[in-house]
């Protein structure tokens, strides 16, 4: 019998993965030629893409340290991708030994890689799960073993929600996650937007087209649309701002112009 047509698709590394493209932007070699080709195509329209990714990483780093400073030492990072370096568990456990981190991603290669990286780290784990199905993540073994949902958790949705189209109802998914979190939990979120990108919107749209072609549509949302994800949260100062402006630790003058693209913010549940 031939392989049935209803069987799930296997791993096809000739199809670019946003996780590996991201790694490429950050100078990593956890990628294949198809990923690099897509990344280079996107960078033709927005040469500063790596700087946006770098700014996202820097924001994540600041936000994790902020969470630790607020006494939140559990992290659920959904859409974690390939932990090239400076990842959540490194930052969190560096600032607070024993901090618990669970990564979730729907890319099986990213999950396999994370599993290898996290081997021997008793306080961090990874789960194969899709942000579109929050319950599968919340009920997973790593979450139930590592996280105490009765206590505050920092939910990290860094540079991931812009890969969910409105048809996927990302707001419902975020709301479902929020309802599982204890009071005092944090939502650490960044999202792509045409706002703040230092190139004309038509040019930036070329990048959107590249992602569309690799079947990972990139959804640029307005500030208002991004702010709606924080429904049910109280915004932490300075609110929803361009990525580089969220609690900067160095002079903004040193920042690359692309670091001001998109939005980042942190909210706290009542």
């Amino acid at each position: 019998m031939e392989r049935p047509a209803w069987a799930p698709q296997g791993i096809d590394i000739s199809i670019p993965s946003v996780a590996r493209v991201y790694d490429y932007y950050l100078g990593g070699s956890h990628n294949f030629e198809a990923d690099r080709e897509a990344a280079r195509a996107a960078m033709e329209f927005m040469p500063g893409l790596p700087k946006i990714m770098q700014a996202n990483r820097a924001f994540m780093r600041r936000a994790v340290r902020y969470a630790i400073a607020q006494g939140v030492t559990q992290f659920l990072d959904i859409g974690s991708g390939i932990p090239t370096f400076g990842n959540v568990h490194e930052v969190a456990q560096g600032a607070h030994p024993g901090a618990r981190v669970v990564y979730a991603d729907h890319d099986p290669v990213a999950v396999a890689h994370s599993r290898a990286v996290l081997e021997g780290n008793p306080d961090a784990g990874v789960v194969a799960g899709d942000l579109r199905k929050p319950q599968e993540i919340l009920r997973s073994v790593p979450v139930s073993e590592l996280l105490d949902l009765e206590r505050p958790v920092a939910l990290m949705l860094v540079a991931v929600l812009h890969f969910l189209e409105d048809a996927d109802d990302p707001y419902a998914a975020v709301a479902e996650l929020r309802s599982a979190l204890a009071p005092g939990s944090l939502l650490i979120l960044s999202h792509a937007s045409f706002d703040g990108i230092p190139v004309p919107e038509e040019q930036a749209s070329g990048t959107v087209g590249v992602y569309k072609n690799i079947r990972s549509p990139l959804v640029m949302r307005s500030r208002d649309a991004i702010a709606r994800f924080f429904e049910g949260y109280e915004m932490v100062e300075p609110g929803l701002v361009s990525i580089a402006r969220w609690r900067p630790e160095a002079s903004l003058e040193q920042e690359d112009p692309f670091a001001f693209s998109g939005y980042a913010g942190v909210g706290r549940t009542a």
Partner: protein, 712 residues
């Protein structure tokens, strides 16, 4: 350490600052530039030491190049900028008081070492990361393959173990795979039989018309699934009925690829349904269509398009009850089966059907082209078929029938109206003597009182007090005085006027209303008797005779009700006589006789009514708790005129003698002439009743009669 700006440490830091500013824009680090500079500072110190060491060690330069990769400066531009900075500033900020030429040469060597260290570290890191991601891809593939294998194993188990048949074919209809269940359905183990033919060749004459259109739409990709009931030929040529669901399987890009068939064997269920349907629509005894099926057909015939006509024969056997009673139900049933077979043979033309409605009622329906002629011929055929004697248990029985015929155009009447008309017409044939057919007449239908309408009106009639009682005197033959009266119930029907008990008592018996009606009659009559007693009629207290129907006899409340009524009214039990028909007591056992015996012991008289009409065993008379015989009127008919029939005289004389020897008194009914009365007196009969004395009438007439008699 000397931290003054111009001290060696201060100069070193300035070098690190320049260095970090140069390469920070091309790093991927998430540190701030200041933090990054702190990371570079130790490496700047290594560079200074390498520059100023007495003996140059290239390993130090290597270490710095390698460190650059460690702090995520993997962009070659970072190396280029680092070499620029080292070239331009290392000697300037870190050079000791040494020979400038020597320092420059040393600086160049340092740069070579840094470049080599960077390249080596980058190569190793790149290799490591490529290996890591490849391994991750392999691991992921492995995990997916395992999941796929598990899911395939599950699917295979479902496929092979399913109770329903599953088959997969390509779009040309070539069968690729079928499971065990499907093989079994088609006759077991013969894979070749199924695989040898294309799916679109699996036709069957009973295929629903849309089946192959749906199939074509599916393989063309215009439809994703369909569900039909479909027959197939099995390997052995027998038919396999299925509930078939076919789904279109598409590839990842949505192109039609395979067709998947799910097949449920419904052959058994279908047969069962057919059998259940047959049983629900056919009479178990005769195998004829039953009332349900007949009404379906009649309804269809009556809703036929304009211009169509129908003809209906409604047959009721004459005297069937007597056969059932005398020969038993088994014989009766065999007779019905024989009649059914004969009827079936009478109605063989297209559009003709015969059905059994119940009991000994049959119908024949015709919807042929000339129903007016056909229905007459059909009725004639039925009557002549019945005329041939039926042999049952060695006896030749002749059954006759009465037929009511309704014929007319479709679309005017409901089945119930047609059947009512046929029923009325059949009774007309029966009243006319039976063994004949009559044609329905709408005028007669309208005026005929149907059993059905009377039956439904009975309960309300009792509530509204539409019943009343007439009394017929019983005259003492020896003294010529009124000794009592028989209570006879009448129904004053609002439309049909006064109806006699023969019209409604059988209906009341069928519906059970006889019990409350009988109780009312008893109470009413007992009150009347009491009233007569109060008036002290001459000739002593008169007795009241009340009829008991078989149903009342069996009713458990008979004794209690009777006692209760007598006590409440205050009548002596001896003033009441209950009349029970001879046929009701035929074969009665002690249990049945017990209530009568109890009543007799209390003093209530029991009369055996219609004596001589049944087949009573005279020897049995001794064990019955009766005190009186009422001779049927048929015995006295031969005495109405002079000279009386000698045989009748002898019979009556014998019965009277027998009765008297058993201490039973004898009452004669139907006395209509003085001659009769005189004969009966001489034969020794005790009491008489009949038109000669008085017709049944209101209670005060009895009073008058008694007075007249006393005077006479």
């Amino acid at each position: 350490m000397n931290k003054e700006p111009d001290g060696p440490e201060g100069r070193l830091r300035r070098f690190a600052t320049i260095w970090s500013r140069a390469i920070f824009p091309v790093t991927a680090t998430s540190l701030t530039r200041q933090e990054f500079e702190e990371q570079l500072l130790p490496h700047a110190r290594v560079l200074r030491d390498a520059l100023t060491a007495r003996v140059f060690d290239s390993a130090t330069g290597h270490a710095v190049g390698s460190a650059l990769v460690d702090v995520h400066c993997t962009d070659p531009e970072a190396l280029s900028r680092t070499l620029d900075v080292v070239d331009a500033y290392l000697v300037l900020y870190c050079g000791a008081e040494r020979d400038p030429e020597e320092l420059r040469a040393r600086c160049a060597r340092v740069q070579h070492a840094v470049a080599a260290g960077f390249a080596q570290a980058l190569r190793e890191r790149t290799r490591a990361e490529q290996e890591a991601i490849s391994r991750a891809a392999l691991d992921a593939r492995h995990a997916v393959a395992e999941a796929l294998h598990a899911s395939e194993a599950r699917f295979r188990a479902v496929f092979e173990g399913a109770a329903i048949g599953i088959g997969i074919a390509d779009l040309d209809g070539t069968v690729l795979q079928v499971n065990e269940a499907m093989l079994r359905m088609f006759g077991g183990g013969l894979d070749k039989y199924i695989r040898g033919r294309k799916v679109n060749e699996w036709t069957h004459p009973d295929d629903a018309p849309q089946v192959w259109r749906l199939y074509e739409e599916l393989v063309r990709g215009e439809r994703d699934h369909y569900r039909v009931e479909k027959p197939y030929y099995r390997q052995d040529g027998t038919v396999l009925w299925t509930n078939l669901t076919v789904s279109l399987l598409r590839d990842a890009d949505g192109r039609p690829q395979y067709q998947l068939a799910l097949m449920e064997d419904t052959t058994e269920r279908r047969l069962l349904n057919l059998r259940l349907r047959y049983e629900a629509t056919h009479d178990a005894l005769t195998g004829l269509p039953n009332r349900t099926l007949f009404f379906e057909r009649l309804e269809k015939a009556l809703s036929a398009p304009d211009g169509k006509r129908f003809g209906l024969c409604y047959l009721d056997l004459d005297g069937f009850k007597a056969i059932n009673d005398s020969l038993g139900h088994a014989a009766g049933d065999r007779l019905l089966v024989e009649v059914a077979d004969r009827l079936q043979s009478c109605a063989t033309a297209p559009g003709e059907m015969v059905a059994r409605l119940g009991g000994d009622e049959f119908v024949a329906l015709t919807t042929g082209p000339d129903t007016e002629r056909e229905v007459d011929e059909l009725a004639g055929r039925i009557l002549s078929m019945l005329a041939i004697p039926v042999r049952i248990e060695g006896r030749e029985l002749t059954v006759r029938g009465s037929i009511g015929i309704v014929e007319g155009p479709a679309g005017e009447r409901t089945p119930a109206e047609v059947l009512r008309s046929a029923d009325i017409t059949m009774y007309r044939a029966k009243s006319a003597g039976g063994n004949r057919f009559e044609l329905a007449d709408p005028k007669v239908d309208a005026s005929t009182i149907t059993r059905h309408s009377l039956t439904t009106a009975l309960p309300a009639a009792l509530e509204r007090g539409e019943f009343f009682i007439e009394y017929q005197p019983l005259v003492h033959l020896g003294e010529g005085s009124v000794s009592g009266a028989e209570a006879l119930v009448r129904w004053l029907h609002p439309q049909h006027g006064v109806l006699g008990p023969d019209r409604f008592i059988p209906l009341a018996e069928d519906t059970g209303l006889i019990v409350p009606l009988g109780r009312w009659v008893l109470e009413e009559s007992v009150r009347q008797a009491h009233a007569w007693h109060q008036r002290h009629l001459p000739g002593g207290p008169v007795r009241i005779n009340v009829n008991l129907s078989p149903c009342q006899l069996y009713h458990p409340g008979l004794v209690a009700d009777t006692v209760d009524i007598l006590e409440r009214v205050g009548l002596e039990p001896g003033s009441l006589c209950l009349e029970v028909t001879e046929s009701a007591l035929i074969g009665a056992d002690d249990d049945l006789l017990k209530p009568l015996r109890l009543l007799a012991e209390m003093g209530v008289n029991i009369a055996l009514d219609d004596f001589g009409t049944g087949y009573s065993n005279l020897a049995n008379l001794r064990r019955l708790p009766v005190s009186e015989l009422k001779l049927d009127r048929s015995f006295t008919q031969g005495m109405q005129h002079y000279p009386a029939d000698q045989v009748d005289l002898k019979i009556v004389e014998g019965i009277v003698s027998l009765a008297h020897s058993l201490n039973l008194s004898v009452t004669v009914e139907g006395v209509e002439t003085a001659v009769q009365a005189d004969q009966l007196r001489r034969l020794g009969c005790d009491t008489a009743q009949g038109w000669y004395y008085a017709r049944p009438g209101p209670p005060d007439r009895l009073h008058t009669l008694a007075l007249v008699d006393a005077v006479g």
